[in-house]
Symmetry: C2
């Protein structure tokens, strides 16, 4: 039941130019418990006073760079049309999303770890996947 709350500062990804604002986005994302929208990231940067005079567009640009380098996953959850971004950590994560309150409940493990998947076209090379479960959380059901 015990949980580490040691916040290791992850190392800056190689090959990406480090700037104050990218660093801020990076920190927020790496320490985030769950996927965040560009606005949420932006707001957190302001709150944590990681810098002043940031532009939301810079957040988007940073996210784009990270995504292009395969460092973050972008997804759009059902019932909400704002994209959310998550830093790709060792163990990737999936969530159950409450259709009523939109709360995210993390899954214990990736259900695909034990499943072998095939497409009709055997020649399709799978490199990743996205899974989202929908339903109602304890409070809402």
């Amino acid at each position: 039941m015990s949980e580490k709350n040691i916040k290791e500062s992850a190392e800056w990804p190689e090959g990406i130019k480090k700037t104050r604002q990218r660093e801020a986005v990076f920190q927020i994302l790496v320490n985030a418990e769950e996927p965040l929208s560009a606005h949420e990231i932006y707001r957190q940067i302001e709150q944590q006073e990681l810098g002043d005079g940031y532009a939301i567009s810079t957040v988007y640009r940073a996210l784009t760079v990270f995504e292009e380098n395969d460092l973050v996953v972008k997804s759009t959850l059902m019932g909400d049309d704002t994209a959310v971004y998550a830093w790709k950590k060792e163990a990737h994560k999936h969530y159950a999303i409450c259709l009523k309150c939109h709360k995210l409940v993390p899954l214990q493990s990736c259900p695909f770890e034990h499943v072998d998947m095939h497409t009709k076209d055997e020649d399709f090379q799978i490199t990743g996947h996205k899974i989202e479960l929908y339903g109602y959380c304890k409070q809402c059901k």
Copy 2:
């Protein structure tokens, strides 16, 4: 306005007011091989001359009604920020999406049919899911 010779391949969902434009959206979606965007649906309606003077907003409104009644699934695929809509048929379907050409390749079956899933919170009541596989198709890999 008179009825056109529309092929009746599925019955109109109960409890939803039937109108010419909703019927058009319904037909397009039910006969679609794969998920379509609001614009694609709109375009098809024009092409098939299912009616004149349609408004794209009407398509959106129809889709919203269908979605609220749990008749269509809306999703936003990676690498594209336009939502696509699919009519919920008996056997639900999942796709593998090519990261390069964005082609959709249908999966043989739902990988979750044989998997038991759990969330950390045992009290979460799962009612549905969304799965998307990403990778490269035969031509692009």
